[in-house]
Protein backbone atom coordinates (compact mmCIF):
# COMPACT_ATOMS: atom_id res chain seq x y z
CA UNK A 1 0.00 0.00 0.00
CA UNK A 2 1.85 3.03 -1.30
CA UNK A 3 2.61 5.74 1.23
CA UNK A 4 1.82 3.57 4.24
CA UNK A 5 4.98 2.05 5.73
CA UNK A 6 3.18 -0.32 8.09
CA UNK A 7 0.49 -2.62 6.72
CA UNK A 8 -1.53 -5.36 8.38
CA UNK A 9 -3.36 -8.15 6.57
CA UNK A 10 -6.92 -8.63 7.74
CA UNK A 11 -9.78 -10.98 7.07
CA UNK A 12 -13.41 -10.08 7.71
CA UNK A 13 -14.83 -12.44 10.30
CA UNK A 14 -18.44 -13.50 10.54
CA UNK A 15 -18.82 -11.69 13.85
CA UNK A 16 -17.66 -8.41 12.30
CA UNK A 17 -20.78 -8.25 10.13
CA UNK A 18 -23.95 -6.49 11.19
CA UNK A 19 -27.58 -7.32 10.32
CA UNK A 20 -27.18 -5.49 6.99
CA UNK A 21 -24.44 -7.98 6.09
CA UNK A 22 -21.90 -5.18 6.12
CA UNK A 23 -18.65 -4.97 7.94
CA UNK A 24 -19.83 -2.98 10.94
CA UNK A 25 -18.34 0.49 11.42
CA UNK A 26 -16.80 -0.54 14.73
CA UNK A 27 -14.70 -3.19 12.95
CA UNK A 28 -13.11 -0.47 10.81
CA UNK A 29 -12.01 1.31 13.97
CA UNK A 30 -10.57 -1.96 15.27
CA UNK A 31 -8.61 -2.54 12.06
CA UNK A 32 -7.15 0.95 12.44
CA UNK A 33 -6.22 0.02 15.97
CA UNK A 34 -4.54 -3.18 14.78
CA UNK A 35 -2.25 -1.32 12.41
CA UNK A 36 -1.63 1.35 15.04
CA UNK A 37 -0.40 -1.19 17.59
CA UNK A 38 1.59 -3.02 14.88
CA UNK A 39 3.33 0.29 14.23
CA UNK A 40 3.79 0.84 17.97
CA UNK A 41 5.42 -2.58 18.30
CA UNK A 42 7.90 -1.62 15.55
CA UNK A 43 9.00 1.48 17.45
CA UNK A 44 9.26 -0.30 20.78
CA UNK A 45 6.03 0.85 22.36
CA UNK A 46 4.07 -2.00 23.86
CA UNK A 47 7.11 -4.19 24.21
CA UNK A 48 7.26 -7.27 26.39
CA UNK A 49 7.11 -5.05 29.45
CA UNK A 50 3.59 -3.98 28.56
CA UNK A 51 2.64 -0.37 28.19
CA UNK A 52 5.68 1.06 30.03
CA UNK A 53 5.63 4.29 32.01
CA UNK A 54 4.83 6.39 28.96
CA UNK A 55 2.88 5.59 25.86
CA UNK A 56 1.03 7.16 22.98
CA UNK A 57 -2.63 7.30 23.99
CA UNK A 58 -5.59 7.92 21.76
CA UNK A 59 -7.15 11.36 22.10
CA UNK A 60 -9.31 11.47 19.02
CA UNK A 61 -10.17 9.25 16.09
CA UNK A 62 -12.20 9.54 12.91
CA UNK A 63 -13.22 7.39 10.00
CA UNK A 64 -14.69 8.17 6.62
CA UNK A 65 -16.47 5.22 5.03
CA UNK A 66 -16.10 4.92 1.27
CA UNK A 67 -17.27 1.39 0.46
CA UNK A 68 -18.83 -1.57 2.22
CA UNK A 69 -16.79 -4.39 3.66
CA UNK A 70 -18.27 -7.86 3.17
CA UNK A 71 -18.10 -11.41 4.41
CA UNK A 72 -14.74 -13.11 3.85
CA UNK A 73 -13.07 -10.02 2.37
CA UNK A 74 -9.30 -10.04 2.50
CA UNK A 75 -8.31 -6.55 3.52
CA UNK A 76 -5.14 -4.62 4.06
CA UNK A 77 -4.86 -1.80 6.52
CA UNK A 78 -2.10 0.79 6.24
CA UNK A 79 -0.88 3.17 8.92
CA UNK A 80 1.44 6.16 8.81
CA UNK A 81 2.39 9.15 10.90
CA UNK A 82 1.28 12.43 9.35
CA UNK A 83 2.56 14.82 11.98
CA UNK A 84 4.82 14.78 15.01
CA UNK A 85 4.18 17.53 17.53
CA UNK A 86 5.88 18.14 20.84
CA UNK A 87 3.57 15.98 22.96
CA UNK A 88 1.16 14.82 20.30
CA UNK A 89 1.19 13.02 16.98
CA UNK A 90 -1.23 12.42 14.16
CA UNK A 91 -1.66 9.18 12.29
CA UNK A 92 -3.55 8.31 9.12
CA UNK A 93 -5.05 4.97 8.16
CA UNK A 94 -6.35 3.37 5.02
CA UNK A 95 -8.35 0.17 4.71
CA UNK A 96 -8.41 -1.42 1.27
CA UNK A 97 -9.69 -4.49 -0.58
CA UNK A 98 -7.20 -4.90 -3.38
CA UNK A 99 -7.04 -1.47 -4.98
CA UNK A 100 -10.42 -0.38 -3.70
CA UNK A 101 -10.23 1.89 -0.67
CA UNK A 102 -12.95 1.04 1.86
CA UNK A 103 -12.19 3.70 4.43
CA UNK A 104 -9.75 6.33 5.56
CA UNK A 105 -9.19 7.41 9.09
CA UNK A 106 -7.18 9.56 11.44
CA UNK A 107 -6.02 9.44 15.02
CA UNK A 108 -4.68 12.13 17.32
CA UNK A 109 -2.31 10.65 19.86
CA UNK A 110 -0.89 12.13 23.03
CA UNK A 111 2.34 10.94 24.63
CA UNK A 112 1.23 10.30 28.18
CA UNK A 113 3.20 9.67 31.35
CA UNK A 114 1.09 7.35 33.48
CA UNK A 115 3.08 8.11 36.65
CA UNK A 116 2.84 11.90 36.32
CA UNK A 117 -0.67 11.59 34.94
CA UNK A 118 -0.10 14.10 32.15
CA UNK A 119 1.20 14.54 28.63
CA UNK A 120 4.97 14.82 28.23
CA UNK A 121 7.24 15.51 25.21
CA UNK A 122 7.75 12.64 22.77
CA UNK A 123 11.37 11.45 23.33
CA UNK A 124 13.94 11.96 20.58
CA UNK A 125 14.66 8.22 20.29
CA UNK A 126 11.00 7.59 19.45
CA UNK A 127 10.92 10.44 16.92
CA UNK A 128 13.99 9.00 15.22
CA UNK A 129 12.41 5.56 14.96
CA UNK A 130 9.22 6.99 13.48
CA UNK A 131 11.14 9.13 10.96
CA UNK A 132 13.26 6.14 9.98
CA UNK A 133 10.14 4.09 9.25
CA UNK A 134 8.42 6.93 7.42
CA UNK A 135 11.56 7.75 5.44
CA UNK A 136 10.60 11.40 5.27
CA UNK A 137 10.71 14.47 7.50
CA UNK A 138 7.71 14.98 9.78
Amino acid sequence: MKGYPVVTEEKVRYGDLDPFGHLNNVAFIRFFEQVRVAYFAKIGLWGEGGRGRCNLTLAETSCRFLAEGRWDDRLRCGGRFAKLGNRSAHMEYRLARGREVLAEGTAALVYFDFVLGRAVPIPLVLRRKIRAIEGRPL
Binding site: F20, N25, V26, R51
Partner: protein, 150 residues
Protein backbone atom coordinates in the same frame (compact mmCIF):
# COMPACT_ATOMS: atom_id res chain seq x y z
CA UNK B 1 -32.22 8.09 35.75
CA UNK B 2 -32.48 11.53 34.23
CA UNK B 3 -30.80 12.36 30.95
CA UNK B 4 -27.95 14.83 30.56
CA UNK B 5 -29.50 18.25 29.89
CA UNK B 6 -29.79 19.21 26.24
CA UNK B 7 -29.81 15.61 25.02
CA UNK B 8 -33.21 14.25 23.98
CA UNK B 9 -32.10 10.63 23.98
CA UNK B 10 -29.80 8.93 26.49
CA UNK B 11 -29.29 5.20 26.73
CA UNK B 12 -27.70 3.71 29.86
CA UNK B 13 -24.85 1.39 28.88
CA UNK B 14 -22.79 -0.83 31.17
CA UNK B 15 -19.06 -0.98 30.65
CA UNK B 16 -18.38 -4.71 30.62
CA UNK B 17 -15.16 -6.48 31.57
CA UNK B 18 -14.60 -7.47 27.94
CA UNK B 19 -15.03 -3.83 26.85
CA UNK B 20 -11.79 -2.93 28.60
CA UNK B 21 -8.30 -3.28 27.15
CA UNK B 22 -4.79 -3.77 28.52
CA UNK B 23 -4.73 -0.27 29.98
CA UNK B 24 -7.84 -1.13 32.00
CA UNK B 25 -9.81 1.42 30.00
CA UNK B 26 -12.86 0.89 27.86
CA UNK B 27 -11.40 0.29 24.42
CA UNK B 28 -11.80 3.07 21.85
CA UNK B 29 -13.82 0.89 19.49
CA UNK B 30 -16.43 0.40 22.21
CA UNK B 31 -17.07 4.15 22.29
CA UNK B 32 -17.98 3.92 18.61
CA UNK B 33 -20.25 0.99 19.37
CA UNK B 34 -21.96 2.94 22.16
CA UNK B 35 -22.50 5.80 19.72
CA UNK B 36 -24.18 3.40 17.33
CA UNK B 37 -26.50 2.13 20.07
CA UNK B 38 -27.30 5.74 20.95
CA UNK B 39 -28.26 6.52 17.34
CA UNK B 40 -30.52 3.48 17.16
CA UNK B 41 -32.17 4.44 20.47
CA UNK B 42 -32.62 7.97 19.13
CA UNK B 43 -34.40 6.78 15.99
CA UNK B 44 -36.61 4.49 18.03
CA UNK B 45 -37.55 7.35 20.35
CA UNK B 46 -38.27 9.66 17.39
CA UNK B 47 -40.58 6.93 16.09
CA UNK B 48 -42.48 6.98 19.37
CA UNK B 49 -43.30 10.67 18.90
CA UNK B 50 -44.14 10.55 15.20
CA UNK B 51 -45.18 7.27 13.57
CA UNK B 52 -42.44 6.22 11.19
CA UNK B 53 -43.77 3.45 8.95
CA UNK B 54 -40.46 2.88 7.20
CA UNK B 55 -37.09 3.83 8.62
CA UNK B 56 -35.50 2.97 5.28
CA UNK B 57 -31.78 2.42 5.41
CA UNK B 58 -29.19 4.73 6.81
CA UNK B 59 -25.56 4.13 6.04
CA UNK B 60 -22.72 5.67 7.94
CA UNK B 61 -20.62 8.18 6.00
CA UNK B 62 -18.24 9.31 8.71
CA UNK B 63 -17.66 9.10 12.42
CA UNK B 64 -15.41 10.86 14.88
CA UNK B 65 -14.77 10.61 18.59
CA UNK B 66 -12.79 12.75 21.01
CA UNK B 67 -11.83 10.90 24.16
CA UNK B 68 -12.05 13.10 27.22
CA UNK B 69 -11.83 10.74 30.19
CA UNK B 70 -11.15 7.00 30.41
CA UNK B 71 -14.15 4.79 31.15
CA UNK B 72 -13.68 1.76 33.38
CA UNK B 73 -15.23 -1.62 34.04
CA UNK B 74 -18.51 -1.50 35.94
CA UNK B 75 -19.43 2.06 35.07
CA UNK B 76 -22.79 2.97 33.64
CA UNK B 77 -22.54 5.59 30.92
CA UNK B 78 -25.27 7.55 29.21
CA UNK B 79 -24.89 7.13 25.46
CA UNK B 80 -26.39 10.23 23.87
CA UNK B 81 -27.34 11.33 20.40
CA UNK B 82 -28.92 14.43 18.99
CA UNK B 83 -29.45 15.72 15.50
CA UNK B 84 -27.61 18.88 14.55
CA UNK B 85 -28.61 19.11 10.91
CA UNK B 86 -30.75 17.35 8.35
CA UNK B 87 -29.77 17.73 4.72
CA UNK B 88 -31.53 16.36 1.66
CA UNK B 89 -30.22 12.85 2.18
CA UNK B 90 -27.90 13.22 5.15
CA UNK B 91 -28.34 13.57 8.90
CA UNK B 92 -25.60 14.96 11.11
CA UNK B 93 -25.62 13.56 14.62
CA UNK B 94 -23.79 14.90 17.63
CA UNK B 95 -22.88 12.25 20.14
CA UNK B 96 -21.57 12.08 23.65
CA UNK B 97 -21.04 9.73 26.56
CA UNK B 98 -21.58 10.96 30.10
CA UNK B 99 -21.09 9.50 33.54
CA UNK B 100 -23.19 10.58 36.50
CA UNK B 101 -21.29 13.05 38.68
CA UNK B 102 -22.07 14.80 41.96
CA UNK B 103 -23.27 17.95 40.28
CA UNK B 104 -24.95 16.32 37.29
CA UNK B 105 -22.97 14.71 34.51
CA UNK B 106 -19.36 14.51 33.43
CA UNK B 107 -18.60 14.19 29.72
CA UNK B 108 -16.49 11.14 28.95
CA UNK B 109 -16.35 11.50 25.16
CA UNK B 110 -17.92 13.48 22.37
CA UNK B 111 -18.17 12.95 18.67
CA UNK B 112 -20.05 13.21 15.43
CA UNK B 113 -21.68 10.80 13.01
CA UNK B 114 -22.99 11.59 9.55
CA UNK B 115 -25.48 9.11 8.10
CA UNK B 116 -26.98 9.01 4.63
CA UNK B 117 -30.39 7.65 3.66
CA UNK B 118 -29.76 4.98 1.06
CA UNK B 119 -31.93 3.16 -1.46
CA UNK B 120 -30.38 -0.27 -1.95
CA UNK B 121 -32.71 -1.18 -4.82
CA UNK B 122 -31.46 1.79 -6.84
CA UNK B 123 -28.04 1.74 -5.22
CA UNK B 124 -28.11 5.49 -4.62
CA UNK B 125 -28.75 7.93 -1.82
CA UNK B 126 -32.35 8.80 -1.05
CA UNK B 127 -34.17 11.73 0.48
CA UNK B 128 -34.63 11.59 4.25
CA UNK B 129 -38.35 10.88 4.57
CA UNK B 130 -40.76 13.49 5.93
CA UNK B 131 -41.81 11.15 8.75
CA UNK B 132 -38.23 10.78 9.93
CA UNK B 133 -37.67 14.55 9.66
CA UNK B 134 -40.81 15.22 11.72
CA UNK B 135 -39.84 12.61 14.29
CA UNK B 136 -36.36 14.07 14.73
CA UNK B 137 -37.74 17.58 14.92
CA UNK B 138 -40.31 16.53 17.52
CA UNK B 139 -37.70 14.75 19.60
CA UNK B 140 -35.32 17.71 19.50
CA UNK B 141 -38.18 20.02 20.49
CA UNK B 142 -38.50 18.08 23.80
CA UNK B 143 -35.22 19.73 24.87
CA UNK B 144 -35.90 23.02 23.10
CA UNK B 145 -33.40 22.25 20.36
CA UNK B 146 -34.03 23.32 16.78
CA UNK B 147 -32.71 21.22 13.94
CA UNK B 148 -30.99 23.00 11.06
CA UNK B 149 -32.47 22.17 7.67
CA UNK B 150 -35.41 20.16 9.06
Amino acid sequence: MSAPPGWPSALPMHVRFSDCDMLGHMNNARFISFYEEARVAYLKKAGELVPIADYGNFILLSISCRFISPARFGEVLHACARVAKIGNSSVEFEQALFRPAQDGFEKVAEGTAVVVAFDYARNEKARVSDAIRSGMKALEATVGHEVAGA
